[in-house]
């Protein structure tokens, strides 16, 4: 089942013309008990067909344990964005990035391709002081219009600091994880499983929470 119609394909192809470097969409799935795995795989393959610079790779989480471990993948479906050197820079989507999250997927691809603006100097300075591992979880629903904004910011922070890892978590697909973190409003951001806030806050707000972990 194709998710993109002709109009979307045309619009996105034009958009992806601006990609400076190659990006690989690495999809992790399981054969059984995963409702959206097939859809996610198909959708990523469709996205890859929109540009020569987007590549598609499919992995079974059980047979490719080494890859899953290297990218920190524990849930399926998961999509990891790899840069032109096949390096994972902490940009991950757990659950199909459809609905409104297609927008954060597109932004993520462009960011990993090096085609988005970097953060202003003041925020770069704050980021430089982050030297211990940081994990950012951004819980979303696919019907939430302002969730992609929070996902994009988390991914941007991950791209600019090697110690930061950022993942979108679709709260309905992974309801057990969402329940563990008492998610009932989205976007909900959880940092190192300890510090949290609700809403699409500013980059500075993200940084303030991140600094608490250092």
């Amino acid at each position: 089942m194709a998710l993109l119609n002709d109009e979307m394909r045309e619009q996105l192809s034009g958009f992806f013309n601006g990609m400076k470097k190659d990006v690989t969409l690495a999809v992790f799935t399981t054969k059984e008990g995963c409702e959206s795995c097939k859809d996610t795989e198909d959708f990523m393959e469709e996205m890859a067909s929109l540009s020569d610079k987007i590549h598609f790779a499919a992995y079974d989480i059980d047979t490719h344990k080494d890859k899953a471990e290297a990218y920190g993948v524990t849930l399926t479906p998961s999509v990891v964005l790899l840069n032109s050197e096949q390096k994972h820079q902490g940009v991950k989507f757990n659950g199909i990035p459809a609905g409104h999250e297609v927008n954060s997927l597109i932004k993520g691809i462009m960011a990993v391709a090096g085609s988005l603006d970097t953060l202003p100097e003041s925020q770069q300075q704050r980021l430089k002081k982050v030297t211990k591992p940081v994990n950012i979880k951004v819980f979303v629903t696919l019907s939430c219009p302002h969730c992609p904004g929070a996902v994009e910011k988390a991914h941007q922070l991950a791209l600019e600091n090697e110690h930061i890892d950022a993942e979108m978590i679709e709260a309905q697909t992974f309801s057990a994880v969402a329940e563990k973190f008492n998610v009932s409003s989205v976007p909900k951001v959880v940092i190192n499983e300890k510090f949290e806030f609700v809403g699409n806050q500013t980059i500075d707000d993200f940084l303030s929470e991140i600094e608490k972990t250092q």
Binding site: P145, A171, S185
Partner: protein
Amino acid sequence: MELNLNVTEETKVQLKKEVVYDSLIIGGGPAGLNAALYAKRKGLNVGIITERLGGQVMDTSVVENYLGYESLTGEELVNKFIKHVQKLEVPILKEAAVEKLSKKDGLHEVHLKNGDVYQTRTLVLATGSKPRKLGIPGEKEFSGKGVAYCAICDGPFFEGLDVVIAGGGNTAVESALDMAKIAARVDLVHRSEFRADQVLVDQLKKYDNIHIHLQTQMEEIIGEAMVTGINVLDKKTGDRRIMNTNGIFVEIGYLPNSDAFKDYVKVNDHKEIIVDAYGRTNVDGVFAAGDITTIPYKQIITSAGDGAKVALAVNDYLNTHAAVEAPQEVVAK
């Protein structure tokens, strides 16, 4: 499975710090976007600074009262607005929060939270409003733990559960209708009578699981890890009781986003910017449009219309004020 694609080609023109604009529009909702459209067509050098392109309309599930469109989502409508403005190559600075405004050498300066400063001869303040809070005990404590402000975002978490919708306007009734399809039981609680359109109120009767409680005041939100209920006062009988529920959607109206401007222009007790019939504030060259102003009845179509009107007033102002003239204080009528 569907896609809500919202990728607009980045406008090729960018907002520049070294340019003195004829007009800078703060806010990217219907008022700001339409002000930009009208100003640009008048030949003005105009730009938009916005924290959230599209504004609150983005969170509206269905719009059925915008002339010319029988029914579409808020996002679809606002995407049409954005595309229209982008065709005219208006620079739009996104995700940019304004810290404060100031005056310098007869110009107005817009200071962003990230430290950047932009200069302009006139300003259109159109940052709209944000959801109003109940202001009762337990609301802050349980925010994100059962207390929610966006039904289309957080509705899915309450599948098969009981929810309360607080409010009596169109947004509240629409949320009740949306949630009735997902939740087991929906209690619509409002402190006075309905303000919503009758066509919407009539639809409430179609659902057996919607229960209406008018003249009912919410006094406290209670729970443990998550919300378990609310204490309510029945204003007719004077009785107090606990209403059990898993979640509360607060849809009781809006508060203007005027905090960054209230030291620069006059606001009223509701924090709305005081404007005259032309959208002029008390400060020369500073205008305001849409939900942030004292204009009554906040609607998408009235905000858009207001943006158009104010852009024309800005154009008249620029035609009658020389570029070098220092702004003078005037009082809004």
